[in-house]
Symmetry: C2
Subunit: 346 residues, 2 copies
């Protein structure tokens, strides 16, 4: 079975969900062009999630994907928060901000009974997860209306685990990919592989279709990933300059500059490793810091710096999520980009 038959699209192409850089508008544009548009829900309240899903339903009759994180929220650690604030204190001083008074920042909520309830109103054709899968009970709720379930694997072991636990297709996320790494069995980043190595090994290990992700940024990349044995591709970074994306001004500027040639995995912005363009705070604190509280608790304290710096036109403290290949980023409508990406598929 072609993966298009499973997910109901014309094209074997998924727009990667990118929390914080897009909403329903990007998803709709991709769906209308024949790809699978995605709505990332990790940073949405149930109210805004309902609003965005309603917008998709109003904007397209095509199938779409709704994406969730499914981590276990950590116990806050006072000691770690103190260490983190002390690492950030010089920057608070530099900006004249009060480190004793930090409001809760944008969290990252995992898939929950409440979000499942909202989802049931819309019954999306595809639901994708990052960081593994939710509990069997929650997964069963999603399956009840026939949704196909996708999740990301960064190793062969994770792919085997996802297949055994009911994923209908597996996103092989190579190290080139932007944003959060999807790993959930091992936190050792060195076991993760580049797309060229990961895709064929996962294809060989599992029976379900494999979706290649990471470093795919143009029509040749899409064709290459399919030649490598993938059934479909997931493309994120290339969409970040599209007018339908909500990518911030500093983020767009960074993506368009030579700075984008240097990305790194960093836990400074959320507490979990994610790939972003190398910037000042990554350079000065080191991209992977033992001071950063566990995901998503690192977010609150650094967000104050981000907001202040961005108000001054600087991305020095922003998560400038990006894959290692920005050569496909284009300031053109997402539907047009989708058709270009698919132009060498035959």
């Amino acid at each position: 079975m072609k993966i298009q038959e499973m997910i109901g699209t014309d094209l074997p192409l998924i727009q990667a969900p990118m929390a914080g850089a897009q909403d329903s508008a990007l998803a709709i544009a991709v769906c209308e062009a024949g790809g699978l548009g995605s709505l990332p829900c990790a940073m949405l309240t149930t109210d805004s999630m309902r609003r965005e899903l309603a917008a998709i339903r109003a904007g397209t009759s095509q199938p779409y994907n709704v994406n969730f994180f499914c981590h276990t929220p950590p116990e806050p650690s006072d000691a770690r928060e103190v260490a983190w604030r002390s690492a950030l204190a010089p920057y608070y001083k530099e900006f004249g901000l009060d480190i004793a008074n930090i409001p809760a920042g944008p969290g990252r909520a995992p898939f929950s009974p409440e979000t499942a309830e909202v989802l049931e109103e819309f019954k999306p054709a595809v639901v994708s997860f990052h960081f593994g899968l939710p509990s069997p009970e929650l997964l069963a709720r999603v399956r009840r209306w026939g949704a196909k379930v996708l999740s990301s694997a960064t190793t062969v072991e994770e792919a085997l685990w996802l297949e055994a636990h009911g994923a209908d297709a597996i996103i092989a996320q190579g190290t080139e990919a932007g944003g959060h790494r999807g790993h959930f069995l091992s936190h050792d980043l060195s076991v993760q592989m580049g797309t060229f190595a990961l895709v064929p090994q996962i294809v060989r290990a599992v029976k379900v279709p494999v979706i290649a992700a990471g470093g795919i940024a143009g029509a040749q990349g899409v064709a290459a990933a399919l030649a490598l044995g993938a059934s479909a591709v997931q493309v994120g970074t290339a969409y970040l300059l599209c007018p339908e994306a909500t990518t911030s001004k500093v983020h767009r500027a960074a993506l368009s500059s030579d700075a984008a040639r240097h990305t790194a995995l960093t836990n400074l912005f959320t507490g979990r490793p994610a790939r972003g363009i190398f910037n000042r705070v990554m350079r000065e604190l080191g991209p992977l810091s033992s001071f950063a509280p566990e995901f998503p608790l690192a977010t609150s304290a650094i967000t104050q710096l981000r907001t202040k710096a961005e108000s001054l036109g600087s991305g020095d403290f922003s998560p400038l999520w990006s894959g290692q290949n920005t050569s496909g980023c284009r300031d053109i409508p997402a539907g047009e980009l989708t058709r270009q990406l698919a132009s060498l598929i035959h």
Copy 2:
């Protein structure tokens, strides 16, 4: 111009030079099958180099590649050697070896006037370099008989530098690749990219042909790399189990096991980061150690442990060089493997 016309082969396929794991036999087999076989010379004396080149000349009339490192040998540092020996001391004790009495290990000599002189006797069609390019004088000597010059780039910047300094084609070495990283402009490993991201960006940046390397292990991988815009591919790891390779017993065993799923960049074996299968010494000292003397000075002290451990059947202290994708490793003649790798090229 097709790259085959430049290098004189039937196939756009180069067997990666793998010092310590192969000699003329592997190169001959690949040449005879239509690929470009390579002889790695980094660990050869001028005498053994002359002998191996004579063997190639006797074994095939096809063009072949001769490969050299071109690093600047470092000044030995007594302090660093002391720190290194103290890190290795517990292992010397474990094996009952005398750490005060370490013979010089297998070095890694850079391309030199002496090696150029030997090379002039054979006038190989292709000469490839790792870690940049040799001096303009030495490069001119190689060019005198019309040899085409290749070198590895791990970033777009390095590709631009190599093109500007006279490389005829550029090997885009993605992070998936096994063995030594070819970087020479920056030692920051985080600027290096996966093959899927690196190849299209280098293709876009330079005018010379680009050879994709890293994670390519089968016919689909070869086809995918060409679809990505590469003019040719360089494959190493897949050849390591071929009977013509001189891969050690412990190395073959590791490549054939699940242990091969976990590789890492390590400087423990030579002083320069190289990708190998994760083993005991990498786990216990950390794969990247600040104690390891500069390349290639780390080699001597650890080689005693390697030799002793291998005599006991263990690869705990061996450089088990491997890319991230061993799915193509096959114990079949290298000519047959070459034809299989090329079977989807059209």
